[in-house]
Every structure is written in structure tokens, then in C-alpha cells.
Symmetry: C2
Subunit: 216 residues, 2 copies
């Protein structure tokens, strides 16, 4: 059965691959699972039909027969549990990968998102310039800790996993900031993720949606 | 085998049950799994021995034989997978509960934590008073959506689950704010969680640690 995911009709990042459908596309490409995409407008995301799928009115969602899921982390985990390639077989290694999935989304992403949110919605406030360094220090604290743990390993725990998929996706949000360049091992880690054929296929697919919306 | 978790030697919330070890204690109590607790000082949390367990220098951690985990969501999931009581047997229902676990930690908790962080570290800034209503509106947006989905159900999806355990824990952070009272069905939902015997046992256990540290 081919699952259907939702994505922005016109991604606010203009096809840079930062919208969260990219994470689900990447997971599906890693495991070789074909998928369909239903595009959703900003208006439709807040209407009852979409809210029935996603109570917080966001993308992506995941539909497969009578199963409907939301939350990127849960969707990536669902895909990882049902296909080989994103979770190790060994029970302890699997639990550690799940730990990295939660760490990416709960510990590393929040300060990165706060910095982005401030840039988007507080850039015209009087406090913005004074507050930004404080937000960036919160990001650096987490990156320093992550960099220390990664060391010179290729991936967070053994081979590439769903934990790396989410962590690389989270760190990619910093690409245009220059902050990631302060941590060479994290920059190299992100580059290793981007170099994966499955990442490239997913990236091209989301970019094609944006390009079509812009020229269509 | 009895697992060992870590908790604050002296919780910054003074035993109100908001430190994240509470979530793990609650999960262990729900499934009837005895556990040991190792208390960690703020200083020790940033030292190599603890960082080897938790790269971000936080609590709780979870050790069970040669398995060491961090991240509350991952620990609760690990407990839920290995014992009956926190995840449904049906595969689709299980996937939906996992969705709520991620939703609690990734979608509902971040704006709540941002409000708390601002209160803690920005309360003496010139912008604090002007910015607080904006932070509270972000919280209200998520609570409104969650309230709409919960409706008059007792729990988020069928019977009590690990998704409810995490969502109630997240919402409890708002208890002293008054914001939760604006959503009667969410207040009642939180009260149902607090009324569970397993919650009460976990709460008493974490409070006993704080009381002993204060009087010892």
C-alpha cells in the first residue's frame, strides 16, 4: 500500500528543504518506499478536513489505509519500524537510536527554532538586536555538547539511523546562519547526511513542488 | 533487573513534580516496575561521568544492565514497550499513541517552556513585560487546538497511554499560570492524570527527595 503524505502547496522556505515533509520524504527514500504527496494550502491547513488529520494544523501527515498519523518524529519512527535501514536490530542499539530521535527534536531543535521564530516575528521589535546573541548562545550550548559527543564518528551511534536523519535535518536549519561552521565535525556530519542518495532524491522532490508552484 | 534513574539532588522546582524524572517515575509506577534513583548535583551533571550518560548534562538518565538511555520521551517509550499498560496492542492505536508522545514533547511543550524560560532568565529585561503576552498567546494557540481535539474524551486516544502521561506532564507546567483554567476540558484532563494512583506514588517519591534534601 502506497502511503500519502501532505506537504506545503508552496513551502515558505522556497524549496530549501527545511519544511518538515522533507524529513518524512527522506525516511521513505532511505527505505525505498514509494509515496504519494497531497499538497495543502495555508488556508486548507486550518480547515476541518485537515484538522481532522492534524489537530495542530500543520504538515506533514501520513495516511496508509485506515491509519492516519501526524508529528514528523512519529511518522519517521513508524516508517523506521516497518522497514529495514533506519533502526538497528539489536534491542539496546535500537533504544539508543530512539533516544537520538527524541534528542534531535526535543533538546537540539527547540533553541534553533526559537532563534528562527525571533528572526521571523520579532525582527522589528526594539529588543531584537539585544536578544539575538542570547538566543544564539543557547544554540551554541547544545551544538557544543553534541559536537563533544559525536567526536570523529560518522554517525551518532553505529551506522546511519533515524536518529541521524532527524539530527541532520534539525542542524540543516542552521546552514544559512554560519553558526554550524563553528563546529567542523557537525558541519561534516551534516554534509554526510546531505550526500546520501536518499537525501538528494527527497530534496529534489520537494524542490520540484516549489518550482512547479512558482512557475505554474 | 532493577533499573536506575537519575534525578536532581535538589530539584529547582522544590518538589512540585515538574522535573523530568517525574515523568519516568510515573511511567515506572504505571507498569509496576521498581526502580532505584541516583541523585545528581548541578555540579556533577556537567562532569564527565554524567556527560558520558547524558551528553546534554541533564536528568533523567536510565540504566538497566548494559543499556544507558537519556531523553525522557525515549525512556518513557522504552518502559512502555517492555511492559503492559502504556501502549495499546493494536498496531494502529500504538502508532497513534506514539504520535501523541511526540506531539506532547515537540508541539505542545516548546511554547510552554519558552514562557518559563523567559520568566526565569528575562524577567529583568526591558522587553519582558511587552513580550510575555506574545509568549502566552503562543501557548494558548496550542492549548486551543489540543482542547478542540480532546473534546469530552477522557484521554487522547482510547484508554490512558504513554501519550497521555507525557501530555499531562507537559500541561502540569502551566498549573501555576492560570492559563490552563481557560480550557476546562484540559484542566479536567490534567486532574484525571494527577488522580491516578501511579502518579501519586511518583509524586510522593520525588517530593520525599526534596524534603530530605531540605531538612537533612
Amino acid at each position: 500500500m502506497i502511503p500519502t503524505i501532505t506537504a506545503f502547496e508552496r513551502s515558505p522556505d522556497r524549496g530549501k528543504g527545511l519544511a518538515r515533509d522533507m524529513r518524512v520524504r527522506w525516511a521513505l527514500e532511505e527505505v525505498g518506499q514509494p509515496y504519494d504527496v497531497r499538497l495543502v494550502s495555508f488556508k486548507a491547513m486550518k480547515e476541518p478536513a485537515h484538522l481532522a488529520l492534524h489537530p495542530f494544523g500543520q504538515i506533514p501527515t501520513y495516511e496508509e489505509g485506515d491509519l492516519a498519523l501526524f508529528e514528523t518524529g512519529a511518522i519517521v519512527f513508524h516508517i523506521a519500524e516497518r522497514h529495514a535501514g533506519l533502526l538497528p536490530d539489536d534491542a539496546n542499539a535500537r533504544a539508543r537510536v530512539i533516544t537520538w530521535m527524541f534528542a534531535a527534536l526535543n533538546t537540539v531543535e527547540p533553541p534553533i527554532l526559537e532563534r528562527e521564530t525571533a528572526k521571523l516575528v520579532e525582527h522589528d521589535k526594539t529588543w531584537y538586536e539585544e536578544r539575538l546573541p542570547f538566543l544564539e548562545d543557547r544554540v551554541r550550548k547544545r551544538l557544543g555538547e553534541l559536537s563533544g559527543r559525536l567526536g570523529d564518528a560518522n554517525w551518532l551511534d553505529g551506522g546511519f539511523s533515524a536518529g541521524d536523519l532527524l539530527m541532520v535535518s534539525v542542524l540543516l536549519r542552521l546552514k544559512s546562519s554560519g553558526i554550524l561552521d563553528e563546529y567542523p565535525n557537525l558541519s561534516a556530519y551534516v554534509a554526510r547526511g546531505e550526500a546520501r542518495p536518499a537525501y538528494k532524491r527527497a530534496f529534489d522532490a520537494q524542490l520540484a513542488v516549489f518550482t512547479a508552484a512558482s512557475t505554474g
